[in-house]
Amino acid sequence: MAEMQDRFDVIVVGAGPSGNAAAYTLAKEGLNVIQIERGEYSGSKNVQGAILYADALEKIIPEFREEAPLERHVIEQRMWTMDDTSHTGMHYRSSDFNEEKPNRYTILRAQFDKWFSSKVKEAGALVLCETTVTELVKDLTGQVIGVRTDRSGNPIFAKVVILAEGVNGLVGQRSGLRDEIAPESVALAVKEMHFLPRETIEARFNLRGNEGVVIEAMGTITKGMTGTGFLYTNEESISVGIGCIVSDFAESNVTPSQLLEAFKAHPSIAPLLEGSEVKEYAAHLIPEGGYKAIPRLTGDGWIVVGDAGQFVNAVHREGSNLAMTTGRVAAETVVALHRRGEEMDALALKDYERRLEATFVMKDLRKYKGIPALLHANKGTFFGAYPRLISQAMQTWFRVDGIDKKTKEKAIFRNFRETRSVWGMLGDAWRVARAWR
């Protein structure tokens, strides 16, 4: 009898942004949903910078701004290329971002995810924490019909399983649906939370009220590896972190903590953190292989969403919005099939992929499909040589030392030419332009 009762419409594996988006959407449409999370609560295992992109969440919970724990809305984006002593920045700041419904927010994931999870429960999903899904259960035809967990007892059965299990995709791997994630397709990022009084943050970053700043940085800070650093302003803290491709770490012998320490000590970063107290540190993997690294997304009775599907746009530092969007679209696919009383087999679930094609998720990932490999293959050039050249050029250009500007121009150009050659630079430009299309 218990077994009959425990057959659900949908099992969602994982309670991160993609799993919560899926479970919420399904439960709200009246489906019988169980969400299984290995952590003590939603958010206890989750790590992100973190920026929340409003649009993706708005499409799921339109009134989220009234309730969700948000830190600051972002009004200024700073993009830096750095060498060891300087940075060259492009900043965009606009009071237009002080709009009624701001576009981007900094958030603290532990709090945000807890809130999102409370909405999932309110919508009527059964949320089971501290339970790890170990494998998928299949029937004789290979159709996934449920999951086994690390708790004793019977499997949990459902018509379809949504795998929102995160970057490693362990359940998918164990069940033979996908390969282990390649070290070239995943970044390891470390971050720290630095506490400062809000007045200090506001004075230091030229902010008022809940305005916030985002700094994204690349250059010699990654010691020749493919990666970026970041610094985000929260209400009373600063998130600072850096991440690089795992295979680069393996080759370089640089540890993530060394990298973060050096980044924090950089003369452009150190004054921003001065006097702060570190209260938290965290590390996480980020899938950065892009379009080409996307595993199989659907099969008989299963769908993959979020990080598990490599849904991260590394170029634009977007991930949680892709996660929420794929979670929502997967849920909408399942709801439609459920309403029509259709089987959740591979053929029917393929509709999820068709729906995704129409969203920014697939369009953006396809647009940048060549970028991850290009940057990785030329990491010395893009993360070392060019940042150095740009810094040196700026130094030459702005230093007033009695040398005439024409001579300075020539010196700058000579420096570029000697380091990268004219054909090399043209080639880089062409390759980037082609990969960017």
């Binding site: 059964l126 967990t149 009084p197």
Partner: protein, 285 residues
């Protein structure tokens, strides 16, 4: 048999942050857990349930969010969860807490049967007083067994219980009549992991929620801040220990060196030697 286990939801002390600016404890965003000492009490109750077929009720006084801790208790294997929550309880010290809990235990007795055993943990990690358990016992006139390390025997026919109580100088074996209140020592058992069926049941379960009025509290002056004579005079960080580390010189084979270390420890704490000796006798004789 009916067993009630009193549990408390506490902030996870490993994850508490002190606000760097105001120097106050930041409760917001700090995860909560079941007071770790209470888990030993709950597991002991569940073991009695396994062997004697008891019904286990988990009782918690706290804010509405404490329902999560009760749900966890259900996942472990408790049969029923009761949440005592009311804004009048805010700011309760041990006197007010034991009063409110004893009133709730009265209603539990009336509604679900008088419990033969009421369990609490040794103490909580946020209060560290170890007073609430004894407070409940004296209010309800229960025999109290504190700092219990083992339940030796429960004889329901004769209505007696025999337990081991760890004292500084050794282990006492005590026998008394039911009903009793037991405060359970730490590291006396290991909490089980509930089955998937239990976890599903817990996730769906209705938590019984009672207010002050529901449990028959008429005099609100006995509750919360008003009913709490304890005054916190000062909060300060403890100073570092003044005792210096000591180097123990030892030579010879492994056994000789181990003995040298043990001798040095026993010289400092003779009670530990007595205690270990008593336990060894218990196990091997």
């Amino acid at each position: 048999m009916h067993i009630v286990v009193c549990i408390k939801q506490v902030p996870d002390s490993a994850q508490i942050r002190v606000h760097p600016v105001t120097n106050t404890i930041m409760r917001q965003g700090v995860p909560t857990i079941i007071n770790p000492y209470d888990l030993f009490a709950l597991e002991e109750a569940l073991r009695l349930k396994d062997t004697l077929g008891a019904t286990v009720t988990a009782l918690c006084m706290g804010p509405p969010t404490a329902a999560e801790s009760l749900r966890k208790a259900l996942t472990f294997g408790a049969d029923r969860a009761v949440l005592l929550t009311d804004r009048y309880f805010a700011g309760s010290d041990t006197l007010a807490t034991s009063y409110a809990l004893s009133m709730a235990l009265g209603k539990i007795g009336a509604d679900y049967g008088t419990p033969e055993i009421v369990f609490t943990g040794k103490q909580t990690i946020d209060g560290d007083t170890a007073q609430v358990g004894p407070g409940i016992a004296s209010r309800l006139n229960l025999n109290q067994l504190t700092y219990i390390s083992r339940i030796v025997e429960t004889d329901l026919e004769r209505g007696t219980i025999t337990v081991e109580r760890r004292a500084e100088t050794g282990t006492q074996v005590l026998a008394t009549k039911l009903p009793v209140l037991i405060t359970m020592l730490e590291a006396t058992n290991e909490m089980r992991r509930g089955s998937i069926e239990k976890a599903l049941e817990a996730a769906r379960a209705e938590i019984v929620t009672w207010s002050a009025a529901d449990v028959g509290i008429e005099d609100l002056a006995k509750c919360g801040l008003r009913g709490s004579p304890t005054i916190v005079k000062k909060v300060f960080a403890p100073s570092a220990r003044s005792e210096k580390a000591e180097m123990i010189e030892a030579e010879g084979n492994l056994e000789a060196r181990a003995n040298a270390v043990i001798d040095a420890l026993f010289a400092k704490a003779p009670a530990v030697e007595d205690d270990l000796y008593a336990q060894a006798v218990h196990h091997y004789v």
